[in-house]
Point group: C2
Chain length 169, copies 2
DNA sequence: GTAGCGTAGTTGAGCGTTGAACTATTCCGC
DNA sequence: GCGGAATAGTTCAACGCTCAACTACGCTAC
């Protein structure tokens, strides 16, 4: 919240307030999302020393053939600003889990490379992460609810970030 | 991520990895949740100067008969730690939107009180907030999807925070 | 009434995020 | 090739959050 408020007024007319049912749906979604993200992050952090954000970076790198990725691409994949990713990679570098390497094709670019130590750290954290997701999410839901969750997520994603949703399936 | 890692091993046995369908459901939910929360927060912050977290505090206070609430209760309602809320209320106090008042019944307690200026700020922000929620969420969803969203949220909430889900409806 | 414990809330240090300013390199039109 | 615009990434300062330490008050039992 560093911004000066610049006047960007709403379209005129009475706001379309939420009715009671919409309020309940919105609040249920909001609270459950915040609580779930928070709990998974704390659980992972306390058990492995790796926050969920850092875990995502390690996963992204590990899934690439050479275990390396351009900084910008990595930032996009991790829903991170470039600044944030740059800081995060610096800290992962201090731990010896990632190293930077100048990009051969583009002198402006940097590659983030997952080290063996980083891969080992990821291998240690992955079971903790997946158990958390099962315990807090999948174990609570019926197959129908899981299908609904996916449908909801993909519907929203088509608007929020069309690139990210695979059109094929 | 300030913690030293204390060994809290998983239950033994092979981790229950996610299959492809579960991966897709999980990633769709995760990305959509993160993007939606982020977008709503940025939109509100840039248009009104009030972050989503601060907005929730103002809303909680405004919904109470006397527009005041105990700090702990407010923290619970806003999914906030006491420390975080204490800092946040201090900053809202600097803006003149909230003031602190010692609690008559319990000398240890403090009441956070919404000022007229705070209420006016909330009135200005509320239309921006509701338009954001409509634009990014409800306008994209069918009635069935909204119902599914509520069901999903309430199911998760029953585990994550049973107090918060109303058993009646 | 006072010792000990529990609860309410605040404070401070350290870390992470943000947004803007900055450097370095590449791309494009001429 | 050369000047200007665009792109890639980093850095800095300000702010917010976390965790642990701390103050202050209330509760209970002796």
């Amino acid at each position: 919240m560093t911004s000066t408020v610049s006047p960007q007024p709403l379209p005129p007319g009475e706001p379309r307030w939420l009715d009671v049912e919409e309020q309940k749906a919105w609040r249920a979604w909001l609270y459950s999302a915040q609580l779930l993200l928070d709990r998974l992050d704390r659980d992972l952090t306390h058990r492995t020393g790796i926050s969920h954000a850092y875990y995502e970076i390690l996963v992204a790198l590990s899934e690439t053939p050479e275990r390396m990725m351009r900084m910008s691409e990595l930032a996009d994949r991790c829903l991170s600003s470039r600044s944030r990713l740059s800081h995060a990679v610096s800290r992962l570098e201090e731990r010896g889990w990632v190293r930077r390497q100048v990009c051969a094709e583009d002198g402006r670019g940097q590659l983030a490379v997952l080290t063996e130590e980083g891969f080992a750290a990821l291998e240690g954290a992955a079971p903790v992460h997946v158990e958390g997701v099962r315990r807090e999410l999948f174990d609570r839901l019926s197959p129908e609810q899981v299908a609904g969750m996916r449908d909801l997520g993909e519907t929203l994603l088509r608007h929020l970030d069309p690139q990210r949703v695979h059109p094929s399936d």
